[in-house]
Amino acid sequence: MNWKSIGTATVFAAALVGGRAHAQEKIVIDGSTTVGPVAKAFAEYYMQRNPGVAISVSESGSGNGAKSLINGACHIATMSRAMKENELAAAKEKGVDPIAHIVCMDGIALIVHPSNPVKEMTVEQVRALYKGEITNWKELGGPDRPVVVISRDTNSGTYEAFEELVMKKEKMGEKTEYVGSNGAIRQRVLTTPAAIGYVGLAFLEGVKALRINGVEPTAESVNDKSYPVARPLFMYTNGKPAGHVAAYIGLKDTDDGCRLIEDIGYVPLKVKAVEKK
């Protein structure tokens, strides 16, 4: 079928092996591919410590996650956006009371080569760059060099977030290069003086992150929502969570949970964990 189902099966198998001695409690999680990695990392961590719990994580998209929760097919819906009006209405109709928990923030930094004199851009300028309307750094106060525009591949959650937060449904220019991972974008920008790329906040080592609309991309500015290229990532439950579901979602506030979130490249809500590093 696809990688997601295999991932689900693995998590499931791990649960079966880990918890065979106990009565099983099952938590079913469905939804966004962006939040999926966090949900999976949490599931692995939680099942290791609670052998009696089996957690299955599927990634079928935010919309399908919401649908599953409304139909009672899952306990937790992971979503990279807030529920829409019509989804909330449908939930009410079925007697479901969706409660949003912000798990972490997804902040995207625009990065350039350290030698690039450009320090700041507006969201509009970034969009013009990626649309291919601005093609030379001199239009932005930089040297006279054609811009090498680098994007994540259309598969990634980062691309999806960038498309939503920056591109606003506009198409990227045909000269845009596509790269398969956050690390690979940093590598390209690190070695290409004329490049611009975007990565999660965990991938800023060695490159220069641009101020966007005058705001530096940091964990703080992402958390207080002053940095524009950021969004919250959600887990929705039906009513107030209790028992294992509550403990599972509560991982987001623990130090270990924050570390897991950072490892994936998102920004935990508890900024302290970031500073400790």
Binding site: N2, W3, T33, S60, G61, N64, R145, P146, V148, D153, T154, N155, Y159, E160, E163, K169, K171, E174, K175, T176, E177, Y178, V179, G180, A184, Q187, R188, T191, T192, P193, A194, A195
Partner: protein
């Protein structure tokens, strides 16, 4: 035989014969089954790819797929123009073949006819070792070493390339040109004339090379992940296939044909170019086609080295622009492109796979045809 065979007739009993027939039948069936398994696998692959691809063509037609360069699979509404991606695949493949074929055939000739046997025994396994390096390692090299190198020292590299190729070729042209032209002079002038003409030729070629090198040195590479990078790496990856298969073909041409040629008074270069190469033609054609297929089908390297920008470079032969290939698109878009985002985005990848498969199939047919034709010619029809 004498003792034990005394009371055994040569005729087998009916039971033994039945047994023998049964085992023979079983053996044949088993081997037939194994042999047809690979044929069946090919048919199944064709069937499953076509099963996903044909609905796509039925729903959206051929026109957009083959004539539009707008590749926006995740837009609303999505656009599935694959022309630029087809062009990218073609460009990278042609580039790789340009690297691999001359180098590979030259290396094969060198190995089979010029180097001493002991050297050949050492060098050939090393070249074949290139095939054992995983493609991710090549891709990593392209991304981390070659791309920055092209960006920082691109001009110097090109200048070095012009000189490196130009000097030996130029020297050859000077020697041959002066010899040929001097032959037209009256005999008394020949010796001095050939020196003079050679000097003039060397000046002219040197001036031309310098101008060319200056131009090449002025080229600035903006993005190191481009068609040239992918072509170079793919060419190196296809090299062991080309060398190995064409070297085998040159060896297979045989000692007799070479000795016959020398016996007729041909020089070594005449023997190589006029006798051995044509005799090995079918094998070399097969080597080239195998090399092409290696380059077309490679995924990881092009995904990492080509830049993946869905555009036709302007001008079209500009290898310094990033391009996107069929294989990289299929690999890169497969993860997200299932029922979640719409089945068309999934099906279009199978449509591309079908195009690739048909191309490989045609390549194979062309290879067969080349082999047969040259075999017919060799048998003297």
């Amino acid at each position: 035989m004498t003792q034990t065979g005394k009371n055994r007739s040569l005729r087998m009993s009916a039971r033994a014969m039945r047994w023998q027939d049964a085992t023979r039948w079983m053996g044949t069936t088993l081997l037939l089954g194994v042999a047809s398994l690979s044929v069946l696998a090919v048919l199944f692959i064709f069937y499953f790819i076509a099963r996903e691809a044909i609905p796509f063509f039925l729903a959206r037609g051929f026109r957009e797929f083959f004539t539009s360069t707008a590749w926006y699979p995740s837009a609303h509404p999505p656009q599935f123009g694959v022309l630029a991606i087809l062009a990218g695949s073609a460009l990278v493949t042609v580039g790789a073949v340009t690297v691999a074929v001359p180098l590979g055939i030259a290396a094969a000739i060198c190995l089979s006819d010029l180097l001493p046997f002991s050297v050949r025994q050492g060098v050939k396994p090393v070249i074949e070792l290139l095939a054992a390096i995983p493609s991710v390692a090549y891709g990593f090299f392209a991304l981390v070493v070659l791309a920055p190198l092209l960006q920082e020292r691109g001009g110097a590299l090109f200048r070095g390339f012009v000189w490196g190729i130009g000097i030996p070729l130029g020297a050859l042209a000077v020697v041959m040109g002066s010899g040929l032209m001097a032959a037209r002079l009256p005999p008394a002038w020949r010796k001095r004339g050939s020196v003079g003409i050679g000097f003039l030729l060397a000046m002219a070629i040197g001036w031309f090379l310098r101008a060319l090198a200056a131009r090449a040195g002025g080229i600035r590479v903006d993005s190191g992940t481009n068609a040239l990078n992918a072509s170079l790496i793919l060419g190196i990856m296809a090299l062991p296939t080309v060398v190995s298969v064409s070297e085998d073909a040159l060896q297979a041409a045989g000692r007799e044909i070479r000795e016959g040629s020398y016996a007729l008074g041909a020089t070594r270069s005449e023997t190589l170019l006029r006798v051995v190469l044509p005799a090995a033609g079918s094998g070399i054609a097969a080597a080239v086609i195998l090399g092409v297929m290696r380059a077309v089908g490679e995924t990881m390297v092009v995904w990492m080295a080509s830049g993946n920008a869905a555009q036709i470079p302007r001008p079209w032969y500009n290898l310094l622009q990033p391009v996107r290939t069929l294989t990289a698109t299929i690999a890169g878009d497969m993860g997200e492109a299932d029922h979640v985002t719409g089945s068309e985005r999934y099906a279009v990848l199978f449509a591309m796979a079908l195009v690739l498969l048909v191309f490989s199939f045609l390549c194979n047919l062309a290879g067969e045809w080349a082999v047969r034709r040259s075999r017919r010619r060799m048998s003297g029809e």
